[in-house]
Symmetry: C2
Subunit: 277 residues, 2 copies
């Protein structure tokens, strides 16, 4: 693949880095790809960097030395994050989502690749500097947003199952009380999926009292795994007292009034202040 023009190399570098966030590429990788000298590639990367920064579309980080290289730091601007959450709130306010018993239909949103990608970008920006080894979620509706977060952070995704499956090999299970389901539920993790002593970020679609997240946290504690961050797309305002204290919601869900057909949702405004990120 031989490229002559600088513009072409810069365009290709932007595409490759954008599609593979938080992954370190050596200068040599691009030298081989474009059959160009290191000095040219260094200049190309500088161009790519100033292009993306100038338009608020991402941050390219370069590190010098033997193990060094270049990577794209996943980034979503405050403006884009705010726009995403306002759009999501608007969709959530649709009264046709009311299912009864305070439940809302959200599957279309939680399985939407564009919404979950944006949410994953927000979580990635929030959690990038915590040294996590993987992203953990519990099946099913949290998988897309957890996958997108893992992709942005270039981390493996571990999915905790409800039932232990033969295809998971040897598993560890616990029972926990789910406030959403109003009953005791079970969760299982494959022993192969995690390494004792590592660090995890938990990502889920919804939190009511925090029973599921607490369950995940307890189960990971069996493997001596530390939870360094917890992100949920929607957190219910009630109960105010959750089973876990440290979590980062994108959206708060207040009252759902079946008679008035009203749904109270609002974005977590704290995410818009850079100091909190």
């Amino acid at each position: 693949m031989l490229l002559m023009k600088r513009t072409e190399r810069v365009g290709a570098i932007i595409k490759i880095l954008s599609e593979n966030p938080n992954r370190l590429y050596s200068l040599g990788y691009f030298c081989d790809l474009f059959q160009s000298a290191k000095s040219s590639i260094s200049e190309d990367i500088q161009s790519a960097k100033s292009i993306l920064e100038g338009i608020d579309l991402g941050l390219i980080e370069t590190t010098a030395g033997a193990g060094g290289g270049v990577k794209l730091i996943p980034y979503i601007s405050d403006t884009e994050a705010e726009k995403t959450l306002n759009q999501l709130c608007e969709k959530l306010r649709d009264k046709n989502r009311i299912l009864g018993s305070g439940f809302l239909y959200t599957s279309d949103l939680m399985f939407d690749s564009n919404i979950t990608k944006r949410a994953g970008e927000i979580f990635a920006r929030r959690f990038i500097n915590l040294g996590a080894d993987y992203v953990v979620t519990i099946e099913t509706k949290g998988i897309p947003v957890a996958l997108m977060t893992a992709h942005m952070l270039n981390l493996p995704l571990v999915v905790i199952r409800r039932e232990s499956k033969i295809s998971e090999g040897s598993t560890v299970s616990i029972n926990y009380f789910s406030g959403s389901a109003e009953r005791i539920q079970k969760m299982s993790i494959s022993k192969r999926a995690v390494t004792p002593g590592s660090k995890a970020i938990i990502i889920d679609d919804f939190m009511r009292a925090g029973g599921s997240v607490k369950g995940v946290s307890d189960m990971l504690a069996e493997f001596d795994i530390e939870i360094v961050g917890t992100g949920v797309v929607i957190a219910s305002m009630e109960p105010q007292k959750k089973k876990i204290s440290d979590y980062f919601p994108l959206i708060y869900l207040g009252s759902v009034d079946e008679n008035e057909k009203s749904i109270e949702v609002f974005p977590n405004s704290l995410i818009f202040y850079k100091k909190n990120l």
Copy 2:
């Protein structure tokens, strides 16, 4: 967001289109974003197009007229597809994956965002011209690859659940025989998730006899939904006779010998010929 230089606008166009495959952007969108004239933006798009095509990294399609605009057609080159599948086969041959009863541990691969993104690109290239309205999968391990396929095609993802959940609203369920689980299983779909008379692509992680896919197909038939394509990451060679005839596997799984600790896997070589795509 005011940009002066052509290079910067071209870089930004490449990033925006790459991150939002198969989505049509009007010229006006970029005119507003860059505060530039239509004639400049047209030239920028031509530059972006020749950059990506020149390096086998994607196809930019422009359509003229009132409803026209520009979009990135998801694309993975034959070389990249072959490399992806060979790497995946190599990972699958790891004898530590053998779980007994012919089962292999594949969760780490099926939840890997990079592998599933590549697989999604291959499925998208295969299925892009079939006029599908959504991608459908059945929980759990097929969700990541189905989500990535849906993202590349800019289609909604519909996830069929094992149990009907209160949060899915009104559902339709069927029972079917799963050869993998060796028992009758249930699947449920939310009535809100699909529109009668539409077209769907089914994507799943694994197919043995095809019972699950047949089940999905039967259930969608209740809604008068036509299956226009079926893609699976891994198809088992046995049984040779499947419950469905038309499917597109990325990888074939032959014998798994627990005593010899050998796993026979090979890529579906047909995907490497453009005429078949």
